[in-house]
Amino acid sequence: MSEHVLPKKLYFMVFLALVVLTAITTGVAFIDLGPFNTVVALVIAVIKGSLVVLFFMHLKYQTGMTRVVILAALLWLAVLIGITMSDVFTRHWTEKGKAWQQSSIISPDSVTRSTVFWLPDRA
């Protein structure tokens, strides 16, 4: 709870880690890693976000109820993004010609290997 007064040193260590991670993520952007540029940038962002939540926002010292709220937020965010992506990027897996596919704002034709690097090409 908020009665936990954390040592100043901890806050400065977290701050230092955040600045170093910012420098790393900015530097890595100038190196060509292909698709892994995205992966590295997002992993570093998740680490930075976790540091802020755990120490600056005192999640480590909160009740279990707070953790449930955070997990719920992340779960619904995953549902929001996951379901949307799995819809749009699997449309080309089925045969064309069904009306509901053709009337879509995003034509299955626009989702090809050239735009989505991890999708298998349809022969």
Binding site: Y11, A41, A45, F56, A73, F89
Partner: protein, 231 residues
């Protein structure tokens, strides 16, 4: 415990048994609000991810048209302001009024610098360069070279900039709200209502401020970095 003596003197709303219960309920309510904020921003993040995958070249080109120095500057600025805010919460826990006011003021100044630089320099610069869809969309020859380098379609680059302005705009709006909260906190702190009363207000404002910082921690790589900056 000295803290307990202070806590008993603190104002407790009539629906709560004691100060500790009120503190737990207040903090929990703030976390609930932040959970809804995650999904509020989540819609934009979802749309961004979708169209970035559909128009990958255009989003990479758009990312290259942003000035990375601004993005890195904002990130460091917000991390510094989060540090002063966290130390401010600590000062409130220890009932140090002067330290609290200095730290909250520092946080306010850095937050204001963020909004000021973003509007006055970055967005206004984008406007002059013709990178604002709807208001002034006329990319310079240099920008067009970059767009052509990635074989991107102009309208798709404009879509990237719409996402850019909506996402950073919503974030900047949250910063302005945060500045208002910090101002209120500063007034209450000056009146002694925080260190002599409900010090948990600082924690609540701090939670909001750190959340806005986290949103930027994700916006920075997504908008400025994720296409890679090598050409």
């Amino acid at each position: 415990m000295a803290d307990a003596a202070h806590a008993s003197a603190a104002p407790v709303a009539h629906q709560f048994d004691d100060f500790e219960q009120q503190t737990i309920a207040d903090t929990f309510g703030m976390w609930l609000f932040l959970a809804t904020e995650v999904l509020f921003f989540g819609g934009l993040f979802c749309g961004y991810s979708l169209y970035r995958n559909l128009y990958f070249e255009a989003f990479t080109a758009g990312s290259h048209l942003l000035k990375i120095n601004y993005g890195a500057f904002y990130t460091v600025l917000l991390i510094c302001s989060s540090l002063t805010m966290a130390l401010g919460v600590r000062a409130a826990q220890l009932r140090r009024r002067t330290a609290l006011m200095v730290l909250v003021s520092l946080t306010w100044i850095m937050g204001f610098a963020f909004v000021f630089v973003k509007l006055r320099y970055e967005w206004y610069g984008d406007y002059l360069e013709g990178l604002v869809p709807g208001l002034n969309w006329a990319p310079s020859r240099e920008s067009m070279e970059m767009i052509n380098h990635f074989h991107a379609a102009g309208p798709h680059v404009a879509l990237f900039f719409i996402f850019y302005f909506c996402m950073t705009g919503l974030h900047a709006l949250h910063m302005v709200v945060g500045l208002g909260l910090l101002t209120t906190l500063l007034i209450f702190a000056k009146q002694g209502k925080v260190t002599g009363g409900n010090y948990n207000w600082v924690e609540l404002v701090g939670l909001y401020w750190h959340f806005v910082d986290i949103v930027w921690i994700f916006l920075f790589p997504l908008l400025y970095l994720i296409g890679g900056r090598y050409v």
